[in-house]
């Protein structure tokens, strides 16, 4: 009897202590670091997640900014943070892959940015001014063929999903366009509205906002995007172009799996909140549900896809 009693107590203790250890995270405010300017896609999404995350995790979630070097400063800083999960940073594909590939001293390696969840993506879209003579992708390609190099395509930043998509599209369509990087998706819009560029390679989020002012010719997603039902995919038009930016949250290497799971579950719950999902999809964000392992797999796949591309474009 005695031993049984002891056993029960021991089991109870294990459960309680184990449960406590599990319930312990999070027991203080968390820092959600954004490596880009406030007002950008990462920030807008984080701000929408913030109240829901606080409700789910039962702790304050403080959105902080660590801006610079196209995100590099924030990611290099993530490596210096404690591995307790209280600080996580928004990550961005292809940025965290392309930066270490193109810069000798990015301050981090792709695999050091450990994703806990990848919660959304914004596929690339080819957009023109609503008054532009280009009504279809074919019109655009025809013009670009007649004016090699003189067709100007704007986009957000160098070595970004926008630039990659523009380069791949050039190759697929057999054209040569000139890419102008702007400081962000928002900065590129005035250039299109003011007719300073012929087209923009931008993200789906820009589609709804400028309805009536810009025309979307095609979207680089595997199937049509729910917020833009009338925009064909590049694949439908015969160009095998699927490209976009994926965003999620990451922790420094060595963070315990249990902690990662708590965060991943929280992000997943946020995404499954019907009101949140409705609002974000209407704004052009595509919700994604990549857990820790699936996210790492996604990164590995993208590394394989991007490495030869970078080598090719560098020439």
């Amino acid at each position: 009897m005695k031993s049984l009693k002891k056993g029960v107590i021991a089991l109870f203790l294990v459960l309680v202590v184990g449960g406590m250890a599990f319930a312990q995270f999070p027991n203080k405010p968390l820092n959600y670091v954004i490596a880009f300017n406030p007002g950008g896609e990462s920030d807008i999404f984080a701000r929408a997640q913030q109240p829901l995350l606080e409700k789910i995790l039962g702790q304050k979630v403080i959105v902080a900014y660590k801006i610079g070097g196209g995100g590099a400063v924030g990611w290099a800083d993530l490596l210096k943070q404690k591995t307790d999960g209280y600080t996580f940073t928004g990550h961005n594909l292809p940025h965290i892959i392309l930066q270490p590939l193109t810069t000798p001293n990015a301050g981090y390696k792709t695999k050091e940015i450990v994703p806990v969840y990848t919660f959304m993506s914004t596929p690339c879209v080819l957009a023109v001014n609503a008054k532009s003579p280009f009504k279809t992708v074919e019109d655009f390609v025809k013009y670009a063929k007649a004016n090699p190099g003189a067709t100007i395509v704007g986009g957000s930043a160098s070595a970004s999903a926008n630039e990659i998509a523009q380069k791949i599209f050039d190759k697929l369509a057999g054209i040569k366009t000139t890419y102008i990087p702007f400081t962000g998706s928002g900065d590129a819009i005035p250039a299109l509205l003011g007719n300073h560029v012929n087209a923009l390679m931008t993200y789906t989020t820009m589609g709804n906002a400028y309805e009536g002012e810009i025309r979307l010719l095609a979207v680089a997603a595997d199937k049509r995007v729910s917020s833009l039902p009338n925009v064909p995919t590049f694949r439908e038009l015969g160009y095998d172009l699927v490209e976009g930016a994926f965003r999620g949250a990451a922790v420094p290497p060595g963070t315990p799996d249990a902690v990662k799971k708590v965060l991943a579950d929280a992000f997943e719950k946020v995404n499954k909140d019907p009101e949140f999902a409705k609002k974000m999809e209407a704004s052009g964000f595509k919700l994604e549900f990549f857990g820790p392992e699936a996210s790492e797999k996604l990164v590995d796949e993208k590394i394989i896809a991007y490495t030869p591309l970078v080598a090719e474009f560098k020439k």
Partner: protein, 667 residues
Amino acid sequence: MTMQIFMESIVAIFTFQNMIFMLAAIVFGMMAGALPGFTATMAVALMVPFTFTMTPVSGLITIGALYCATVFGGSFSAILLNTPGTPSSIGTCFDGYPMARQGRGKEAIYTATIGSGVGGVFGTFGLILFAVPLARAALRFGPPEFFWVAIFGLTIISSISEESLLKGIAAGFIGILISMIGIAPVGGDMRFDFGLVSFQGGVEIVSVLIGFFCIPEIFRMAMDPSASYSDANSVQHEKGALKRAFNNVIGHPLASLRASVLGLLIGILPGAGGNIANLIAYNEAKRASKHPETFGHGEPQGIVATEVSNNAVVEGAMVPLLALGIPGSPPAAIIYGALLLQGLSPGPQLFTRNASLVYAFMLSFFVVNILMMIVGFFAGKGMYKAVIKVPIRILIPTILFLTVLGSYAIRNNPMDVIIMFLSGIVGYILKDLGFNTGAFVLGLILGPIAERGFVQGLLMGNNVSMTAPWIIMFTRPLSIALIVLSVFSASWPFIRAAFRKKKGGATILAAALEKTEDPSVKKLNTDYVGGAIILGVTAIFFFQIKEWSRYATMAPKSILLVLALFGLALLVKGKFKPEMIATTFTKVSKSLALVIVVGVLWVFLLDKIGFLATSFAAFFIIMFAFHPKKGAQRIIGSTAVAVGVIAVLYLVFVKFLLVSLPTGILI
């Protein structure tokens, strides 16, 4: 706008709840703005989550109030501490701080308060009446135009560095060079990072501003910690300060109109904001003035120009946001996000789909600016009294602590704190050598805009000519207009000097005589020293050039070439017509040496030992050293003040403004 929408909007604004929200936002914004290093962008970003619980109208009104108040609050620290609280108040330091030192601080603060309100009201008129056509017109500014706008801004250098144009331009180019540290705007190459990851984000302008403007003043105070804050008898000047302030603004309606139009127009341009507008407005006020020589020595019209213009920028930035859904400034970008999250899609259709909301938001700026003036009178008076009453020996470590806190808070980067303090030391020396730190700051702010415009313009030029793409910079009508303006602005000081000579050069001659009075003081050939420094900097940066892509290398190489030429020109000038200055930076009092040593240790050990531990130690050492009493009283007194000040500011930043401060080995 129909009458019905107008009435709907008015009703929507004037609720008790909205008034409370506005007042709270104004108080919070003023405080945030007055803290150096805490910008409008950060304040607005901080407030956004709170607005989700409000109705869209209340949320927008609150954010708008906050934006206005933060920009205005920056003038407090500019006037009282010579530190622009936000980059929109750089020019306010030029005359505000001299006024404060002359004992006219109250007048300066009241002038800034009224000016800000007036600028905001003017701006709101512009926003409501011309939003859509102005936003359409702004779209005509493409990369080539932005390049020329930046060049136009840079021509201010010629008027602020009349004493030595060579040094002024060289300082501007060094500013541009420093702005190139970090990621290249086209090509994405990492430039001039000197192998340090912390340099990848580039040099933060706010840190340099704090260092250049505030640290030299702390050093000056530290030369003699027992001196008083202002030179003259301030009580005498305090009488009728409000009346004089009213006269400064209301008595010069044309000056206010000019500054607010400039602010509004610059605010509308996406990518250009208050940091540029206040300097251009300052320059135009000086140009239009009958006595431009008073500027920089406590001329209230200088404050009117900067503060009127920077608050008109706020409404200007709303023009493209509300009319087209294009955020014209970083805080506007956050408001864009807030609109999106409120379920409203910001864009051209906002005006038609949510007319009453948009008009309520725009009309609320009238209410905000008037409320802001009222609150500003009390807050300004309080801050002025606080700074005047605190003895210099306590002011020194307190301001120093603020600069450390502020330069860290801006990007949570310990490197920024180091840059801040080092640029303070550099600024202290350069000023003595006859280099204009304002010119340097202009280069730092406008450099990236100029480079981006130039390189993007060149790429765009492929559309015009594949063989000579640069031609696009000179062919577009708006560009040509901007080129003409730039040439005029750059040569204006010479035109005016020629006019003056005709009228009679007596005053200039007298000033020249005054300079050469005391032959016993040892003077330095600052042209030799300056030339050598410039060539040194050029060499250091030249050897950092790596194999960058073509468009990333173009601008740095040209700037380095120009700098080398200016360095040589200064050496030649030093041989034939040197500028001899009796420098003072070589004379360092014991108390100043202590502050410098403590400061350097503080900024370098900050993230290694811990923020609180280093701050307390540094604060205590300075307090203890400058304490007039002896024994236990000295220790207790120093500890009490150090703990008190640090605790209050720490709580404000960490608990209220949610800045996470670094912890090292200790705390």
